[in-house]
C-alpha cells in the first residue's frame, strides 16, 4: 500500500526540499511505495485533517494538533547526524 508522508519546515521551501529528497531516497531503498507532500509546519494540522498522512517529517517543531500522526525530526536528514536512526524511526512509524 502506498504510504503518504508530509514533509515540512518553516517555509515549505528550502530545508523541506532537501528532506523530501532524502526521505524519498530512503523509502525507495527500503522498497516502500510512497507519496511525499511538502509544506509549512504551520499548515501541518490542516494537512492532517484533509489528507491524513501516515507520518510527518519536520525540520521545525510541530506544535499544532496533528492527532495520532507520528512526527519524526527531519534535522538528521539535513545534518547527516543520526540519519540512520531517523530512517529506522520513520520505517517503524509506517509499519
Amino acid at each position: 500500500m502506498q504510504k503518504s508522508i508530509y514533509v515540512c519546515c518553516g517555509t515549505g521551501i528550502a530545508t523541506s526540499t532537501v528532506i523530501a529528497k532524502k526521505v524519498g531516497q530512503a523509502l525507495k531503498d527500503n522498497g516502500i511505495q510512497h507519496k511525499i507532500s511538502q509544506g509549512t509546519v504551520a499548515n501541518a494540522p490542516t494537512f492532517v485533517q484533509t489528507n491524513k498522512p501516515d507520518a510527518i517529517v519536520s525540520s521545525a517543531d510541530v506544535n499544532g494538533n496533528v492527532g495520532e500522526t507520528p512526527v519524526i525530526s527531519g534535522r538528521p536528514f539535513l545534518t547527516g547526524i543520526k540519519k540512520n536512526e531517523a530512517i529506522d524511526e520513520l520505517l517503524n512509524a509506517l509499519k
Partner: protein, 423 residues
C-alpha cells in the same frame, strides 16, 4: 583575466535564465557532483527564475494600478511595493558576481574554521543570496568585483561570529541541537535584540512583566497563512483604490495567488541549489572530520517555535500600522509579511519567550526594516528593471522587506561604496 571576463559578459548577456544553468553546472562540477546531475540542477534554477519573474510581473500588473489610484486619491505615500524576498534572491543570484562571491564565501568559512575563528560550518547555500544581493548591488553601483567580493566576506564573517555566539540559545530555547543559524536576516538582529533585552531588564514597569504566547497561534494563525493574508490585503487595497466590487475581488484573489505561487517558484530554484548544497556539505565535512562544529542551517528551522510564530503573526498588523504612520516611509508591506517570523527570532529569544519584550524589540526591528527597505527601493527598482520586471509606469517603485531586514549589510554597503574610489 580579460578573456574570462569577456566570456562571462557574453554568458550574462544571454539573460539570467540561461546564465544560471551554466553557472550552477560549473559550480556543481567544482563540488564534485556528476555532470548530468549538475546540469539538471542548473536547469531547475533557470526554470525557477522564469517562474519567479512570471509571478512578480503578475503581482506588479495587479498592484501598479492600485498604488497609482491611491496616489491620485489620497496623495498616498507608500509607493514602494514590497514584492517579496524572491525578487531579492533572483537579483542576487542573477549577476556576474555569483561564481566569485560564492567561492569567496566558502573560502571565508573554511579559513575561519581552520584558524578556529568560528565553529559554524555553513551549509545553508540558499541564504547566500543575502550577501550576494549586496555584492550584486555594489558591483552595479561601483563596477568593482573586488569590492563586491569583499562585502560578502565581511558580511559572512560577521554572521559566522554571531551564529557562534547565539548558538547556545538556539540550542537551549529553540531545541536545535548542534545547529547554528548563520542567516543575516535572522541572526543580524541579535546585535540589537540582546542589548535591548538587557535594557528592558533595567526598565521599571516593564522589568517584571511577562506575557506568554499561548493560544495566539490557534486564534489568529489562519490570518498569517499567505492565502488568507493575500486575499484580505488585496481586497483592502482594491477598496482603498476605489475600484468596483468585481475589480476589488479580482485584486484580492490575484494577490493571494501571487503569495501562494511565488514560494512555489522559489522552491524550484531551491531544488536546483540543493545539489550544490550537498556538494558543499561533503566538501566542508571532508576537510574537518574531527572537529566539533555547529552545522549552519536556514533559520526556517526555528520559526516553527510557538513564540516565534506567534510574535511574527502579531507583528503583521503592527508592521502595516507602522508603514502608514512612520514619516518618510515609502514601503507598502505586502509579500514579505508572511516572513516576519524570520526577523523576529532574536526579538524574543533573548527573553526566552516573553511576548511583551518581543513586541517592543520587534517593533523597533520593523521600524529599521521599513526605513532600510525605503532606502533600498530605488536600487531594487533599477536592478529589477534590468531583470525584466515590468515596474508599472507612474510613481511606483519595488522593494522587499527581506533586503531591509539585512540591516548591517547596508552599513557595509555604505562604507564600501564610499571607499570604492580607492580601488
Amino acid at each position: 583575466m580579460s578573456v574570462i571576463l569577456d566570456g562571462i559578459n557574453y554568458i550574462i548577456g544571454l539573460g539570467v535564465s540561461v546564465m544560471m544553468p551554466i553557472i550552477i553546472t560549473i559550480l556543481g562540477l567544482v563540488f564534485r557532483q556528476k555532470l548530468g546531475v549538475s546540469f539538471k540542477a542548473g536547469l531547475m534554477v533557470g526554470i525557477g527564475f522564469i517562474g519567479i519573474n512570471l509571478i512578480i510581473n503578475l503581482l506588479l500588473e495587479e498592484i501598479g494600478p492600485v498604488t497609482n489610484a491611491m496616489v491620485e486619491r489620497f496623495d498616498f505615500q507608500l509607493t514602494a511595493v514590497d514584492i517579496g524576498w524572491g525578487s531579492g534572491a533572483a537579483v542576487a543570484w542573477g549577476t556576474e558576481v555569483v561564481p566569485f562571491v560564492f567561492i569567496a564565501i566558502i573560502a571565508t568559512n573554511i579559513i575561519m574554521i581552520a584558524f578556529n575563528w568560528t565553529k559554524t560550518m555553513d551549509i545553508d547555500i540558499w541564504n547566500y543570496w543575502q550577501p550576494l544581493f549586496i555584492s550584486s548591488a555594489l558591483y552595479i553601483t561601483t563596477g568593482s568585483m573586488i569590492i563586491a567580493v569583499l562585502s560578502a566576506v565581511i558580511n559572512m564573517a560577521i554572521v559566522f561570529k554571531l551564529a557562534d555566539w547565539t548558538q547556545k540559545d538556539v540550542e537551549e530555547v529553540l531545541g536545535l541541537e548542534g545547529i547554528s543559524l548563520p542567516q543575516i536576516q535572522t541572526t543580524g538582529w541579535a546585535i540589537l535584540g540582546y542589548p535591548m533585552n538587557n535594557l528592558l531588564d533595567k526598565t521599571p514597569g516593564i522589568r517584571k512583566l511577562n506575557w506568554t504566547t499561548d493560544k495566539i497561534q490557534e486564534r489568529v494563525g489562519m490570518f498569517g497563512e499567505p492565502v488568507m493574508m493575500g486575499l484580505i490585503i488585496g481586497i483592502g487595497l482594491g477598496a482603498a483604490a476605489g475600484f468596483s466590487v468585481g475589480d476589488i475581488l479580482h485584486t484580492g484573489v490575484t494577490v493571494a495567488a501571487a503569495l501562494i505561487l511565488l514560494p512555489r517558484m522559489v522552491a524550484l530554484l531551491m531544488e536546483g541549489l540543493t545539489v550544490i548544497s550537498e556538494g558543499a556539505q561533503d566538501f566542508l565535512q571532508k576537510r574537518f572530520p574531527d572537529r566539533e562544529l555547529y552545522i549552519g542551517l536556514d533559520s526556517a528551522l526555528g520559526i516553527g517555535h510557538p513564540f516565534v510564530l506567534s510574535l511574527g503573526l502579531l507583528m503583521i498588523p503592527i508592521t502595516l500600522m507602522l508603514a502608514f504612520i512612520l514619516p518618510g516611509n515609502k514601503v507598502l508591506p505586502l509579500a514579505d509579511l508572511s516572513n516576519l517570523p524570520f526577523y523576529m527570532i532574536f526579538a524574543i529569544l533573548p527573553s526566552r519567550g516573553n511576548l511583551l519584550r518581543g513586541l517592543i524589540i520587534g517593533t523597533i526591528i520593523m521600524i529599521v526594516v521599513l526605513y532600510l527597505s525605503s532606502f533600498a527601493a530605488p536600487l531594487m527598482t533599477e536592478l529589477g528593471q534590468q531583470f525584466g520586471y515590468n515596474v508599472p509606469e507612474g510613481s511606483a517603485e519595488i522593494t522587499n522587506m527581506a533586503i531591509g531586514s539585512q540591516w548591517y549589510t547596508w552599513v557595509v554597503y555604505w562604507v564600501l561604496e564610499q571607499l570604492s574610489g580607492l580601488f
